[in-house]
Symmetry: C2
Subunit: 328 residues, 2 copies
């Protein structure tokens, strides 16, 4: 122990936490000794003794999709600069979600951020006791639906989906087909809703929705049927991974993108601009969302010390090669 530095443990504690009432020379002495001994405060002890919580754990069911990974990156970055430790635990789709099961996954510190864009995440969020320090990354709550009183953040992907759909309609496409990603407990994901909104508003018929998963493969499988129909001239994919599968299916079916088929994805993954053809996509600032979610949590935990939570960018449609005018 640094008490070998000639002072009491209490003084060391004060120095570590930057508290007042320590003479500058004493502080310097302690700091020097800490340096010399390579001393690191024991997090477990700090946590036990009721020190400030400096740990978050992120709960998520998906790790591969760009949006999720980006959110995690944002959270980690914000947490690291706030000197928080971040844990991660992935949710199995069919896990028993008793509060205990969920809480048991948390590392010491007991504060969480739940990425609840789909069912497993949403369930985990619900399972946590109401007074638990947690913030959720969620789908935009359906209109009129009250958020459950917990801090949550979201990107308005309903509006984003509408915008993308309107863009395609504006290009002359009679209708737009949608290949969805899995949603949270809501029957329809917000992206699906937004797509429907735009179609209905334009007085178009809403085609049957096709359900995909998270991978390019699932996009490919689901799209094969769609692209076989020459009447389908525009496909909106739930994310860029699915869109890659769609692009592949289109090529195999001899469809020309964007000549006779337009494809738009979601999330603007780093590779999307370099695909063949380059993918038109809706850029979503999940990294910013992640940072903001951490900010909110930090604020929850320690209203004084936390800086004002960050904001994030609005979705933005990035036009590239995969979308174009409807074929005549």
């Amino acid at each position: 122990m640094a008490r070998a530095a000639g002072v009491s443990h209490q003084t060391v504690s004060r120095v570590i936490n930057g508290k007042p009432h320590v003479r500058p020379e004493t502080r310097a002495l302690v700091l020097a000794t800490i340096e010399e001994l390579g001393f690191t405060p024991n997090r477990a002890a700090q946590a036990l003794a009721g020190g400030p919580v400096r740990a978050v754990t992120v709960l998520t069911a998906v790790t591969a999709a760009h949006g999720y990974a980006a959110a995690l990156r944002g959270i980690e970055e914000a947490a690291r600069t706030a000197r928080f430790t971040v844990g991660i635990s992935v949710l199995e789709p069919d896990a028993a979600d008793s509060p205990q099961d969920v809480i048991e996954r948390l590392s010491a510190g007991r504060a969480a951020i739940v990425i609840a864009f789909e069912a497993a995440g949403a369930r985990a969020l619900d399972a946590l006791p109401p007074d638990f320090p947690v913030v959720g990354l969620v789908e935009r709550p359906a209109t009129g639906q009250v958020p459950n009183g917990r801090p949550q953040v979201w990107i308005d992907d309903r509006e984003a989906a509408s915008r993308a759909t309107r863009h395609l309609l504006g290009l002359g496409h009679q209708t737009v087909h949608f290949l969805s990603i899995p949603s949270s407990t809501q029957v329809l994901s917000q992206r699906t809703q937004g797509w429907q909104d735009a179609l209905v508003a334009a007085g178009r018929e809403v085609p049957a929705r096709h359900a995909g998963g998270w991978t390019p493969r699932s996009g490919y499988l689901a799209a094969r049927e769609l692209v076989a129909d020459r009447g389908v001239t525009a496909i909106l994919a739930g994310n860029d991974d699915l869109a890659i599968g769609v692009l592949r299916a289109a090529r195999e079916a001899g469809r020309d993108v964007p000549g006779d088929l337009s494809v738009i994805g979601f999330d603007d993954a780093p590779q999307s601009a370099y695909l063949n053809p380059a993918l038109t996509s809706v850029r979503m600032d999940f990294e910013g969302l992640g940072r903001a979610s951490f900010g909110l949590l930090h604020n929850l935990l320690d209203p004084n010390a936390a800086p004002p939570p960050a904001t994030w960018d609005e979705p933005e449609l990035i036009l590239r090669e995969s979308s174009g005018p409807a074929p005549r």
Copy 2:
């Protein structure tokens, strides 16, 4: 406290840890009370009291690349089934790497897995004290170079790169150009070495190596120059993300893949099979590697309780559309 269940804290502790010397009925009673109260043992207290370590933190400098993400997934999965908590901390490329700085990132429990495929990771691994419970995911140690006494795991990507290079040579290409990913402290990454090995063994001249980063963009930028040279007929990219950039650059330069240019990537990311053209790639079992690394760590921490560490698959060249015979 569950002591309200009529037994001592000690008995509760025994039940929680599955220790003997508790009457079945007593055990059942305690278990029932725990269930009823929604009691969860306090990890911090357990750790403090010298209970078994049940937390790892993963240190990595890269999160987006498929290989890293896959390794992390493997670690998390193995850790979760062993009821470990997993933390993650990303290393900045230019961080001060004193042992203290590194250790400070660790959550309570103080055990780590370092993904040390490139410089920042390697430095962090070196910074940790020799007796620290840590295992590294590293590049294959150069021949004759003794691993530094720490448990580490690696995939033989030197041989894998050789194999891919030989494959291209066998297809009639005069030589193979290489676009590298950043490496660890070693001047040349093992992938680069393997490529050179094969070229030298075949008596070919070794072309200048091009250095890329981690992203499709960096692959694209580096490849533009390469693909402009019609004499270049085969490019091996350090990973699939770079390869995507290469594919793009090739198309823009009017090169036909695989007609007059073959491209092979590394890692076999999920989207690679669905690209246009589908990317020939070397499949690397980083997920298995991650699982194995956790197994090793678990064994280090608790030689009795840990199951024998898993193994991982050998690299495998997956032939797809992007590689073919050299143009005549």
